[in-house]
């Protein structure tokens, strides 16, 4: 019964990727990431309902925590970081919005073709689950490499991680309650630390452009001399 619902949810997940690739407003993007997180929680619940006759409390708990953290807590942390750094829009991305959209569309098409063979048969409950997960991962990577703001890179990581979780759900892979909670905790702490770092970077550099975070490196022309920490010590 719920297979059709699940197909719809997978398609919404895929559509969210397209919105992410083509949108410049940060708050909007963060809301889309939150939506993806909630969808993942719902999918987790539904997929377990399909494969097991009885509802295990651990499954329900995992799905609830998953949806709660990814759909509520993480977006809240991101929005707080954006507010504190006072940025609204992603300006001048490295890869333009229409081009990003085209790339993601092509990726989605390629993923659909790639997953058409019978090598996935019996492992996944929906023809679109694995392609949607792969596309979400690609979108995350695209956001990391194609955007200028450090905050968008943090968001890209979240989308990438959502994609991996989606892959796990789509393939009915269970790594166990403790491991899934551990992964969620890691992601939560990572976003928390990233938020604090963004605040400090914003204060020190007075901008959040990741491409200007390039003072370190070996292949830069006119490389400045290594920083002298102290002229006179003691």
């Amino acid at each position: 019964m719920s297979t059709e619902y699940m197909d719809v949810i997978w398609i919404v997940l895929l559509a969210a990727d397209l919105v992410l690739a083509g949108s410049s407003r940060l708050f909007h993007c963060i809301r889309i990431v939150a939506l993806q997180g909630i969808l993942l929680g719902v999918l987790m619940l539904l997929s377990h309902g399909l494969s097991a006759e009885t509802f295990a409390w651990q499954t329900v708990l995992t799905a609830l925590i998953q949806g709660g953290i990814k759909g509520g807590l993480l977006p809240f942390l991101l929005i707080r970081a954006v507010r504190r750094a006072d940025i609204r829009r992603e300006l001048e991305p490295f890869i333009g919005y229409s081009l990003s959209l085209t790339v993601i569309l092509l990726m989605a098409a390629a993923a659909l073709v790639f997953c058409r063979g019978d090598w996935l048969a019996g492992r996944t409950h929906s023809f679109i689950a694995v392609p949607a997960a792969l596309t979400t991962m690609m979108t995350g990577l695209l956001l990391i490499v194609a955007r200028r703001k450090a905050i968008t890179q943090a968001m890209g990581f979240l989308v990438f991680e959502n994609g991996i979780t989606a892959f796990g759900i789509g393939m009915n892979l269970e790594s166990g309650f403790a491991v899934e909670m551990g992964i969620l905790l890691d992601v939560l702490v990572l976003v928390f630390i990233m938020g604090i770092t963004l605040f400090h970077i914003n204060r020190e550099f007075e901008h959040l452009d990741a491409d200007k975070l390039n003072e370190l490196g070996d292949l830069v022309e006119n490389q400045p001399a290594p920083e002298t920490n102290r002229e006179t010590a003691i």
Binding site: F167, E174, V179, I183, L216, G217, D218, I234
Partner: protein, 477 residues
């Protein structure tokens, strides 16, 4: 049970150190109890790894414990932490005084001592969890956690550059490790039934029934992911920044302890490879190792920063370790990791002292160390020779074994690159200790007093190398 304690004790000590706040004595006390207790428990676990008391079972599966490979890395990690903690105990007050003297006008703050202690202990706890974890999912969680708790240590100085290095470290390592999570998921998809789970020892027994296509993809992603954290080229980009910006003792831990832990992930995946894929996995490891060696050789030659030079040397040695493992020489790989950890720790501690004394990381601005900081100059020169594999360094033996075991083209190529690196590093070291010198400043004189610990480590490396050489002759005979 003791394995569980081994993780909980440093975590509890980290919390205690954090809560101690500004009470210096209490911070030192909790930190000391944490590190000494961990050392004691490590000793117990290492002495009887087979004992059920030293293992932890979760629902009948072996969840925490050591085998003959991870026990070596366990001992190394705790030993490094113990030595670095000894160094930090004397180094921190001086670093803070120097910082206060230089920045009295600007409002920059270092990481507070209790935060430093807490992050260090949490870092230790997470690394121990990485080493003890028998579940590949738990392994991933722990390795990502090491990134999180060590990131604040890199931004110890809170300067622009260190923040940049910390951001790169967080982002590149997290994305890289996320690839390994995908690899772990693919590994689960490769198992014949959904109930197989991720327990390493179980997977090892069913390795031949893993689906080869899925496993191949899983291994590639795991190699890319854990390779990022381990510093294999071309995923090494975060490493020189993080190692050069972090304070000396932290760099010593990152380079000496953390890289080994990440390598353990690749080792685990390699060990469960089905027989028909062993060759493929080994070839991939050798290819990446060779690439790391190439990148390191090229970039060491054009360095103007002695801490970055050491960081690239870590890339080189991780490459060598990957080649050794790819060639199937497990024991030699462990000897190589041990030798590298000890010598690199000594070099990073020395580099931290040089930075404290001279106030710069630029090779061109540090000159005449032989007159200004003579003990450090001698140790530095000797350490550089040792890390390049001059006998009686333990690395000489392992590199010699590598060249012996490798096919002719590989051995020749590795040897050539090792010579290039040797020439580059010793030229840089000679530039630093020779040349015209000014009168030693008070800072130099103070930093010079920290020579004893590096000297002891050097003596230990020397002894280890001589023992290995002797063993080697026995083997040949």
């Amino acid at each position: 049970m003791i394995a569980m304690l081994l993780i909980l004790l440093p975590l509890a000590a980290a919390a205690g150190t954090y809560l101690a706040g500004k009470r210096q004595k209490l911070v030192q006390l909790t930190y000391g109890i944490g590190i000494l207790g961990t050392a004691l428990l490590t000793g117990i676990v290492a002495a009887m790894p087979e004992n059920p008391l030293c293992r932890f079972y979760f629902r009948g599966e072996w969840a925490l414990g050591v085998d003959r490979i991870s026990v070596v890395i366990l001992i190394l990690t705790t030993l490094l932490f113990l030595l670095v903690s000894l160094h930090i105990h004397r180094w921190l007050p001086m670093e803070m005084a120097a910082h206060a003297a230089a920045h009295h006008t600007r409002m920059t703050a270092l990481l507070r001592p209790n935060h430093l202690g807490a992050f260090l202990l949490a870092f230790l706890a997470m690394m121990l969890l990485v080493i003890l974890a028998r579940n590949l999912g738990l392994f991933w969680v722990a390795l990502e956690a090491t990134t999180l708790v060590s990131a604040p240590l890199i931004a110890f100085h809170r300067s622009q550059h260190s923040l940049e290095a910390m951001w790169k470290y967080l982002l590149i390592c997290s994305v890289g490790i996320a690839l390994a999570l995908f690899g772990t998921m693919l590994l689960m998809a490769a198992t014949p039934s959904a109930e197989d789970g991720l327990y390493f020892d179980h997977l090892k027994t069913i390795s031949d029934s893993l689906r080869p296509g899925w496993f191949q993809t899983a291994f590639i992603f795991a190699l890319a992911g854990y390779g990022t954290k381990m510093g294999l080229a071309p995923f090494h980009t975060w490493l020189p920044d993080a190692h050069s910006e972090a304070p000396g003792p932290v760099s010593a831990l990152l380079s000496g302890a953390l890289l080994n832990c990440a390598f353990l992930g690749i080792i685990r995946f390699h060990e469960i490879a089905p027989v028909q894929l062993r060759g493929f996995c080994s070839q991939l490891l050798i290819a990446l190792g060779l690439l790391s060696l190439l990148v390191a050789a090229f970039l060491i030659l054009r360095q103007d920063d002695y801490k970055r030079m050491l960081a690239y040397s870590s890339v080189e040695h991780m490459g060598l370790a990957a080649i050794l493992w790819g060639l199937g020489a497990a024991e030699i790989t462990l000897f190589h990791l041990g030798g590298h950890s000890l010598i690199k720790m000594m070099l990073f501690l020395l580099a931290g002292d040089l930075l404290l004394g001279c106030g710069t990381r630029s090779i061109a601005s540090v000159g005449g160390l032989l007159r200004t900081m003579p003990r450090h100059a001698w140790l530095w020169m000797a350490g550089i020779f040792f890390i390049c594999g001059t006998p009686p360094s333990p690395l000489f033996v392992t590199e010699w074994m590598l060249v012996q075991a490798a096919p002719l083209w590989l051995g020749g190529l590795v040897l050539t690159l090792l010579f290039v690196i040797f020439a580059g590093m010793s030229w840089i070291a000679l530039k630093m200790i020779g040349g015209p010198a000014a009168e030693p400043t008070p800072a130099m004189r103070q930093a010079e007093r920290f020579w004893l610990l590096p000297a002891v480590i050097f003596a230990a490396a020397c002894g280890g190398g001589l023992w290995l050489l002797w063993q080697c002759n026995m083997w040949v005979r």
